[in-house]
Amino acid sequence: MAEQFVLEIRGTTGGYADNTVLHGVDLAIPAGSWTTIIGANGAGKSTLLKLIAGIIACRSGRVIFQGTEVTRLSALERLRAGIGLVPQGRCNFPLLSVAENLLLGGYSRRLRRADLARESAAVVARFPQLRERWSVDAGNLSGGEQQMLEMAMVLMARPQLLLLDEPSLGLAPGPMQAVFETVRALTAQGITVVMVEQNARQALERCDIGVVLELGRVSLVEPANRVLEHPDIRRSFLGL
């Protein structure tokens, strides 16, 4: 039974210093699915992703990944186990080239340099626009290209579960489409994607499962098309 879900979260609480943001989150994510988490500012969306990735500690409850409890594992151990997070905003090495950024993306795997170079060529095959910018410093890429680069960097770690925090933030409609198309292609290859997204309607129109987070608790988990039709959601989050 547990094998159907790549990720299970049971009654987790967490937050920053004396500010508890998540008050008992329960969530189960099927393998190979694309889930979008929506919710108001401060609902705890980013905090939930950081808690799954092990960036912030889980104060109570459990996080189970591929049937194994990872609640006490560090962020690095979880990355090695197969949970990768692309944080919100720009998160790359701006003074290094696209090629060097990708090599660093595979840092956690302790591969030889020749193997790393071969893998980065394979990863970048999914991102044609990065191949053209191979020797350009990451800081000189456009916002959309940097988002693609960051996804490619995390893919170098070979995650089974990819967490994306606001991947379309600050992107024009064109690059945003490209990001969503890339995510769909990744799930087609068996990678499970959980994303937090402000462009809720565009994401829900494409993804499999919609999750609504309110005041640190999951208030709704439904197939994405059902969430789109939900009258309260349309009013509160979709502006319809």
Partner: protein, 293 residues
């Protein structure tokens, strides 16, 4: 007299060798700032500790200068890793004040521990090159000063190769650019922090080994060094190790010419004058803050 070319060349040789010493003494401070974004207020005491460890290894263990220097660099690397682990790692996500206070405390403890162990009377450490000098075209070159220059060259080319080609060196350059991205790709930032502390302390201790035979050893000897080091790091660009090298040489030359051609009294003020002018006109320093190789 002042325009005598041999005299001017002598001032240049003196300034250059003193300046490379400043650069060597400052690079550890620049490394910790550039890679970890932290200010190490125990920097001067690392230099002092290196000099006293050298004294101890030579006097108590009876080791020759060269072997004592290697032993000292290894001990300093271990101490630097410990300092980073105890003071910097737990404070990586806090404001810089925590590390400022923590390293300041370590500096005070080190000063007083050394005073307890060795006393406050100035000591002298002997180097085989101390009394050596040779002459090129009327310009005198002193053996120990030449050793400082050679050590600078070896240390900076070794540092360059380490940052450029080693696995941990690449991680250090990555951390200088974006620590959050390091966490994203699985670089162990605690491990990089310990390595940075080890490297910085070994280099600072090495500066103490080659420079201290020129002066006396006493528990507060780090104070003068730390002031010059801060000046060099601020002038060169906070955390920029190549900027620190160039600023060190520039400061050494400026002091040498000011002392030789002008008034010896203003020589020690130059570091402050340039530092204040730099903070007013170009606070990012000559080359800005990056550890780029």
């Amino acid at each position: 007299m002042a325009t005598d070319p041999v005299f001017l060349a002598q001032l240049a040789a003196n300034g250059f060798s003193v300046g490379l010493g400043y650069a060597l003494a400052a690079v550890g401070l620049a490394l910790i700032f550039g890679i970890l974004g932290q200010v190490n207020f125990a920097h001067g005491e690392l230099y002092m500790l290196g000099a006293f460890l050298l004294f101890w290894a030579m006097k108590q263990l009876g080791l020759p200068y060269g072997i004592a220097a290697v032993l000292m660099a290894a001990l300093m690397a271990g101490f630097g890793a410990l300092l980073a682990h105890v003071v910097i790692v737990p404070n990586l996500d806090r404001g810089f004040e925590s590390v400022v206070l923590g390293t300041l405390a370590v500096g005070i403890i080190l000063q007083n521990a050394v005073r307890l162990g060795f006393g406050a009377t100035p000591l002298d450490v002997a180097s085989p090159l101390e009394s050596q000098a040779f002459e090129i075209g009327g310009v005198l070159l002193f053996g120990q000063r030449m050793l400082v220059c050679a050590t600078f060259l070896a240390a900076f080319s070794g540092l360059y190769a380490f940052l450029r080609y080693s696995e941990i060196g690449r991680a250090m350059r990555a951390m200088a650019q974006n620590r959050e991205a390091c966490v994203m790709v699985g670089i162990d930032v605690r491990r990089v922090t310990r390595w940075t502390g080890a490297l910085a302390a070994a280099l600072t201790g090495l500066a103490g080994v080659v420079i201290s035979p020129l002066f006396d050893l006493y528990p507060n000897m780090g104070t003068e060094v730390v002031i010059k080091s801060f000046a060099v790091v601020i002038i060169g660009g906070m955390g920029n190790i190549w900027g620190a090298a160039i600023a060190g040489v520039a400061l050494g030359l400026a002091e040498s010419y000011a002392g030789g051609l002008g008034n010896a009294a203003i020589r020690d003020g130059i570091a402050f004058i340039v530092m204040i002018a730099m903070l007013l006109a170009r606070p990012q320093g000559l080359f800005g803050r990056t550890v780029r190789v």
